[in-house]
Amino acid sequence: MIGRLSIPAWTLFRKELLRFAKVAVQTIAAPVLTALLYLVIFGHVLEGRLQVYAGVPYGAFLVPGLVMMSVLQNAFANSSSSLMQSKITGNIVFVLLPPISYVEFFVAYVAAAVVRGLVVGAGVLAVTVWFTGVRFAAPLWTLAFALAGAALAGALGLIAGIVSDKIDQLAAFQNFVIVPLTFLSGVFYSIHSLPPFWRAASHANPFFYMVDGFRYGFFGVGDFPPGLSLAIVAAALAAVASAALALLRAGYKLRS
């Protein structure tokens, strides 16, 4: 019975994977290239001028931040754009007509977003490692933050896809919420280099804990204790997932 019930969710998950795999140049190769350009430009300009952690060159410091930024942005983009496109073209009806529960819907979309985020993140890591080398001081932390961060961004994307009626509303959500949160999360710097106000403000940004915890897995040092960061990320994930599930359960903007 459990196996039978899981087939619809598994199918929806596979469909979402196929969807982004079929346009891999746009969904995987392009974000990897963007991250590589960030590394080449910022790494080249700031290498030797800035050292955040002792013994860690700036280029190497930048890599985990770029990987995590790519994971978050692409996990968000996957669930939000897929749902948005389905709503606009009307083919969302194919998912709403079958006996798929709102929990299965959530799990499938978020799991696919996690996979896209991790695939892009792995791609960014694979190309940037040629330039900087890589080491993992605590790889389990890296994995835990990557999974939790991608799930949180995927769930946020689901919410954005549900509440947005038009592409420009979704773009506004991405440009005014997701991009600022990722850019101000310590991808390019340590928050210890910020003035006190902005340092305090960074602590209100959940993406900071994801990037910092993820980076801790590489170097074994960070701006915040990783255990506490993971707890904060898990709490944020629980809150965002609950909100997404509540919207799906109510059929908000999906079922009239």
Partner: protein, 263 residues
């Protein structure tokens, strides 16, 4: 409204634009929620027991929607999976064969014509062999060939025991296919009867004549006894009749009289 469709029926849902046909279908399919009341599909409540209700229902939506990322076969496999069917290729092949889609199985949905996309919509509604099939304007904008093929297939499904609920703007289709019809107006049932009874409700005959001037005239007669006086009146008006047809009123006439609207 209170409405019950019997198992195995070919049931028509007619009404002018905005009468509530698609809203009713959306409530049955779970795409919309009713403010009050209940809807059951073969005993399964569409809200409380939605999984069972939706498994028994196949809906062909009115809008020509498709997922541009996939081929026809991928689309049908995915739709099967949504209904819990992991291996369904034999039935998918049969459905594609009956809808003349076999040659397009590996073609991307984007590359199909409107008529072909409509066929895929029908196939998607049938992948899980639902006992109840709802067709919301299934022949809108499709060619004669598809229309005939589609009705042949749907009639076969009906003969095999599937319940068919049809909405259409082509009233001659409803007249030909449906055993019973509900006519909706402003969200209410304006008429509910067998097609034969609805057609017989308005007794009399319809006389259509075409004059040498090419103009067509339509006269309503109470009976055959009025035919000769009507023809004499036309001749008296100087109409030189070159063609004429005498027939009982069609469903279109019944529809207009009941709903007070054009089809």
């Amino acid at each position: 409204m209170s409405l019950e469709v019997e198992e195995g029926e070919f049931f028509g849902l007619l009404g002018p634009n905005g009468a509530g046909k698609t809203t009713l279908i959306n409530v049955i399919a779970g795409l919309a929620r009713a403010n009050r009341g209940t809807v059951r599909v073969r005993g399964a409540d569409v809200v409380a027991d939605y999984r069972r209700a939706r498994r028994m229902l196949g809906v062909v939506p009115q809008e020509l929607v498709f997922d541009p990322f996939f081929t026809v076969r991928e689309t049908l496999r995915i739709q099967s999976g949504y209904y819990g069917l992991a291996r369904n290729d034999a039935w998918i092949d049969e459905v594609m064969h009956h809808l003349d889609l076999a040659g397009k199985a590996d073609v991307n949905m984007r590359a199909l014509s409107g008529g072909m996309k409509r066929r895929v919509l029908v196939a998607q509604a049938l992948v899980h062999r639902p006992p109840v099939i709802v067709l919301d304007e299934p022949t809108a904008g499709v060619d004669v060939e598809l229309r005939q093929g589609l009705w042949q297939f749907v009639r076969r499904l009906n003969r095999d025991g599937h319940t068919i609920v049809l909405t259409t703007h082509y009233l001659e289709e409803a007249e030909e296919q449906c055993g019973r019809i509900a006519m909706l107006k402003d969200g209410r049932i304006a008429a509910l009867d067998t097609t034969r009874n609805l057609l017989g409700r308005f007794s009399g005959l319809e006389l259509r004549v075409r004059g040498r001037d090419g103009a067509e005239r339509c006269l309503r007669l109470a009976g055959a006894a009025e035919l000769e006086p009507a023809l004499a009146r036309l001749r008296g008006e100087g109409v030189e009749i070159v063609d004429m047809e005498l027939r009982p009123p069609g469903l279109e006439e019944v529809f207009v009289r009941i709903t007070g609207a054009g089809a």
